[in-house]
Subunit: 211 residues, 2 copies
């Protein structure tokens, strides 16, 4: 049943909010009533921040990560290792890898994964631009050629498909291609790990290192 | 740890979103990235709907419910019974009672409950205006005097305190004051009903009616 709101303006605001993912009409109403209790200036600042972001945010011309500038802070940071490129699905994944503080190379954001079910093909993703980055790297005139591409995609059917496609596209070039390790998560118990993961983690065992 | 976003504009939008109740930084980021994928016109419509609502929405001068007009559609509907006023905490409660389709009188929205712990006293609520409505009703010149006030507040300490305060304020006037029934909820099993509710529902038993 469509709930009747006492105000058309309120109804419009609730409708707009409930278009957001994971926000139903009850939550939307709660958020709108919260905003209604705020100062007008606060609501204006909220909505201005969204419009400004949408209008002015750029995507890095090198790695396609979100950025305020033409080339993002990571790509323009000369302390970072430009010979390594980590391929990720989206900008959340860049943030996830950055938060580990274990990676000091550059990124390449695909903007999705190959998924025939969802109608996403290789041409919808930033794969050609990745090949160009690698090709430019193998050119003799380039200062810092790409020596390694790390595929850091989700461990799903779509991730595997995309890994394989990129692997084939990069095969002609003199570049090392690696995939992030898959195995049992740190802190997880062996007993509750699924069989496929456990099987893989035995096959891909690594030499024991004393820390 | 404060997460580093690759864009200051993105960071601002995420910060604004995460001020909303129940929205953490992860959810805020997800919502902002969703908006980033929408058309600019859609984002502008979203933010315009919020600002317009905040700027233009009114509160009914009679019942203090949210409204686009000076007097809300409920108060200006002559088919409704103006002799009965249902007192509720907020506008969600008006909608909840309206959705039952069992009530055909008018409302009075308090805008909260008396709560000394939260620093909310009677003067912060629309209680004086309720007394005035009832007083005007007992005046001989008024067309439709208020004959009954129904207290429909939450069954909490704050609700009970507010009920009692309003009851005392309205005692001098010739008006019937009733409280909504408290008992076991329809569909609930007796076994799992708390003792206070069950005890009350036995004390306040009603004559059996064949439907």
């Amino acid at each position: 049943m469509q709930q009747q709101y006492p105000s058309r303006l309120l109804d419009q605001a609730v409708q707009e909010f409930s278009r957001l993912p994971g926000i139903g009409r009850k939550t939307a109403l709660r958020l709108v009533l919260f905003l209604l209790r705020q100062e007008t200036a606060d609501v204006e600042r909220f909505s201005q921040a969204l419009v400004t972001m949408k209008r002015e945010v750029k995507f890095c011309s090198v790695c396609h990560n979100i950025s305020d500038t033409d080339v993002c802070p990571v790509c323009s940071d000369h302390r970072r290792d430009a010979s390594t490129v980590c391929v990720v699905e989206n900008i959340q994944d860049v943030m996830a890898v950055e938060n580990t503080q274990q990676y000091h190379g550059l990124y390449h954001v695909l903007g999705g994964l190959i998924s025939p079910m969802d109608g996403v093909g290789p041409s919808d993703l930033e794969i050609d631009s990745l090949v160009k980055r690698v090709a430019a790297g193998t050119d003799a005139t380039s200062a810092s050629p790409v020596k390694e591409v790390i595929l850091a995609l989700s461990s799903t059917m779509e991730g595997d498909t995309t890994n394989f496609y990129i692997f084939r596209k990069l095969a002609p070039y003199d570049v090392k291609i690696s995939v992030i390790a898959r195995g049992i998560a740190v802190g997880n118990e062996l007993e509750y790990t699924d069989e496929v993961t456990l099987g893989r983690s035995i096959l891909n065992r690594t030499p024991f290192e004393k820390n």
